[in-house]
Amino acid sequence: MREIHRRAPRRAGEAADSEAGRYKTLYSMLLDASPSSVLLIDSQMRVVSANRNFVEKALRSEANTVGQRIDAVFPPAIVQQMDLVSRVRAAFEHNRPTRGERMTYRSPGLATRTYYYSLIPFSWKGAIEHVMLLLEDVTEQVRLGEEARRAERHLASVVESASDIVLSTMVDGTILTWNAAAERISGLTLGEVETRTFFDLCAEPHRADARRGFETAKRGKGFGVAEWDLVTKSGALVPVSWVGSTMKDDRARVVAIVAVGRDLTERRKFEAHLLQSQKLAALGVLAGGVAHEIRNPLSIASSAAQFLSEEPEDPEFRRECRAKILTGIERASRIIENLLHFARPGEQPNMVQVDLVRVVRDAAALAAAQAGTQQVEMNIELPGNPVLVSGVPGLLQQVFINLFLNALGAMPGGGLLRTALDRAGAEVRVQISDTGDGIRASEIERIFDPFYTTRPVGQGTGLGLSICHSIVRQHFGAIDVESVEGQGSTFTVRLPLLKNGIRQ
């Protein structure tokens, strides 16, 4: 400290002076090395000493600092803002310190700077001799702090503004964070879910699977992609596609699991519409055959009624006519029932136990009407006993109707349509073969692509096989095709068998 240097210059040979001087030198060195400004002020509001940092930062000289009144040393704006004079006075009169106050100051032509300051009374033998003013420039720290907060706010608002669910859980699945989309989609606030686990919020049939997903995630690789329904506050189910990843600390330990979920409601609606329109397109193809099939029994019933209206005398003939009317009507209504069953919009896509033999038989019955109009012989080999799979009956029927119609479409000039269903290990295999044109090797890769069709515009949507593919995959099965150009194609659908109600 310059003032100390000046008032107590070192004198060689004086032991006491030498000892005191040593400390003074040490302290002045420490003070001068400090990046903070340190000033001593006396009761007359005069600066007694000032360290190097202050002198340099204030762009003053030592001479015009030491001995000056503080209101001459500091710019008036600072004196006023700090209320410097009365604070120094309070320190002297009441031994009251001022600690950690914040002040901003902008010197003309320079950027605003932020300071922390403290005023600490220095007592010696009961009397307050000086007040120490500590002034620290924290502009940089404040700026960094604000930047960090801004980045944090930005990230938070990215998560909050996301239209997808973004949530994090502890490794045991307990919810930690829950964004606005999660609240909007589920109707549940963070407060309502934070003590619950993620699996708790999943629909019952998906809970075990979700739990397994989190167990896998815990081991470090996330749980990949999964579709688990979320139960909303009102108890409704929302289909959600989840992607799970892990959050690790510096030591690569999994500390949290992050799940991002996309609401599939709209997509499911779209898919349902797509399925329905494809179904209607298939119905259009079926309609001709069905009309033919229905008009035959109707015509028989009508003829029998026309005979009866002439009141024939032969009682045996009258009996025959009545029987034919009833049989005809029953046959026609059975065909219509089968058609309506297929035409009606898909039920909730809930998997139930389904007899695949019956599904294939019903589909074949509808296709048979069409086959009859184009000289296609249908040879269907189905086992006598039910073959159970887990599935959505309406969707599975759509698969086989599409495959039958596809086969019929390949045989416009007649042919043979063979269907066989057999068990192979843990799966059931349905093969549908035609003796049609076959598929060119260059096209076989693309036949399951949506909108891919070799038929003229208006004669095929190009959706039939692609829908078969997606339905079969949804049933954990597979579909493939073998074809020889000019000889025909064989489509094979494989589905996992149900044994004791459990998918194999």
Partner: protein, 140 residues
């Protein structure tokens, strides 16, 4: 086949036996006893072995297309009068109209069948055959 001196030979082809039953009973009032079959190929065989004045042919037979069968019958006997019977086509379908314009088929009977229409056709053929049979010797 020949009854009450009316030498009119009629063939009915429909894969549905009860349609054959109905047509047979409708023709009964005209005194005609037809030959019936549910198979297109059998019909072709029958048409080769004997000539028919009138044939009711279902448009959609499982083994043969009805119009194709009509064409082949007329190849062997250009005078045969063919009636296309169908629950598949409408009378104004392009295929039906073309076949009529080409003279391949003389009439179209839609299902459900109206008995009056069939009876009228049968009586018309009957009167033609009876009037011509006085001049020309019956076909052996």
């Amino acid at each position: 086949m020949i009854r009450n001196g009316a030498p009119v030979r009629v063939l009915i082809v429909d894969d549905e036996p009860d349609i054959c039953w109905a047509l047979t009973h409708i023709l009964k009032s005209t005194g005609i006893v037809p030959v019936t079959t549910t198979s297109g190929r059998e019909a072709l065989r029958l048409a080769k072995s004997q000539r028919f004045h009138l044939a009711f042919i279902d448009a959609k037979l499982p083994d043969l297309d009805g119009l194709d069968l009509a064409r082949r019958i007329r190849e062997g006997d250009a005078a045969a009068r063919i009636v296309l019977v169908s629950g598949y086509f409408y009378c104004d379908d392009a295929e039906v109209r073309q076949a009529m314009v080409a003279g391949l088929i003389a009439d179209f009977v839609g299902k459900p069948i109206l008995h009056q229409q069939v009876e009228a056709i049968a009586r018309e053929v009957l009167s033609q055959v009876v009037s011509t049979s006085r001049v020309i010797a019956p076909v052996p």
